[in-house]
């Protein structure tokens, strides 16, 4: 698959995934990137600071997350993010929509009689 299609998919999903990770508890940039890389396997392996920090910044601007600064070991500071009430509501709305969205997209992508999905193969028409 061409890289730019993959980029588009990830762009939309990353905000939701970051909100979902923060729903598990307060966290900070590096830890979030590490979870993404570990749990996302090859798909989110490439998640980098340059992608994640701007998203966190925008989520905070939008009021979905809030942050606090705490000193880090090296003398600098580390920003801890947590979900706000608005963020929690948005995440549950997004989750509901995601289920609907996925079902709808699959209606188009997968012919009904071939809904059984085998690894590495898209059913032939």
């Amino acid at each position: 698959m061409e890289e730019r299609y993959a980029q588009q998919f990830k762009k939309g999903a990353l905000e939701m995934i970051l909100l979902a990770l923060l729903a598990e508890g307060e966290s900070y940039g590096y830890a979030l990137i590490t979870s993404l890389n570990q749990r996302g396997g090859p798909v989110f392996d490439g998640a980098k600071e340059g992608t994640v920090y701007p998203i966190l910044y925008r989520l905070e601007k939008a009021g979905l997350v809030e942050s606090r600064l705490a000193p880090s070991g090296s003398g600098g500071s580390r920003k801890y993010y947590a979900l706000t009430e608005t963020g929690r509501r948005n995440l549950s709305d997004m989750t509901a929509f995601w289920g609907e969205y996925r079902r709808c997209v699959e209606e188009f992508l997968l012919p009904k009689e071939e809904m059984i999905w085998t690894e590495n193969s898209i059913p032939e028409r």
Partner: protein, 145 residues
């Protein structure tokens, strides 16, 4: 490009109000510090972050930034035009003055001022130009903070 230069380039390109800009620069610091703790060189981080312009752009634009930017251009252009007009008038007057010196052979400063009469248009343009320049500096300052 080292960490300091990279940070400076990002700072220059962020289209954010002061508080937001400081927040982003602190984020950048945290990125570099965390990587250092993981035993990574600054060079590797810079390569991964990409061009400073692209990194800065991913944080978007503060509310009102574009409007201030447009206003800044207009006022700066007005200042330049007014100051150039004042300069042109000064040169013009100087030429007529030296010309009259050539013809009459004895006109002095006070006479020249008497000839122009009323409010000196040069002073008027110069004043307006300087005010416009000052306003443009203030707008720039407002954008930076």
């Amino acid at each position: 490009m080292d960490r300091k230069q990279y940070t400076r380039e990002v700072k220059r390109r962020l289209k954010l109000d002061r508080a937001d800009r400081e927040a982003v620069l602190r984020d950048l610091d945290e990125i570099f510090e965390t990587a250092r703790q993981q035993g990574e060189q600054d060079d590797a981080v810079i390569a991964r972050l990409g061009e400073p312009a692209a990194f800065a752009a991913s944080f978007g634009v503060s509310k009102g930034w574009k409007w201030k930017q447009a206003l800044w251009w207009v006022v700066t252009a007005a200042a330049v035009v007014l100051l150039l007009a004042a300069l042109a008038l000064v040169i013009g007057q100087h030429q007529t003055m030296t010309a009259s010196v050539g013809i009459i052979g004895g006109a002095d400063g006070p006479t020249a001022i008497l000839v122009s009469g009323g409010i000196d248009p040069v002073l008027l343009l110069l004043g307006a130009g300087l005010i416009a320049a000052a306003v443009s500096v203030v707008i720039r300052w407002l954008m930076r903070r």
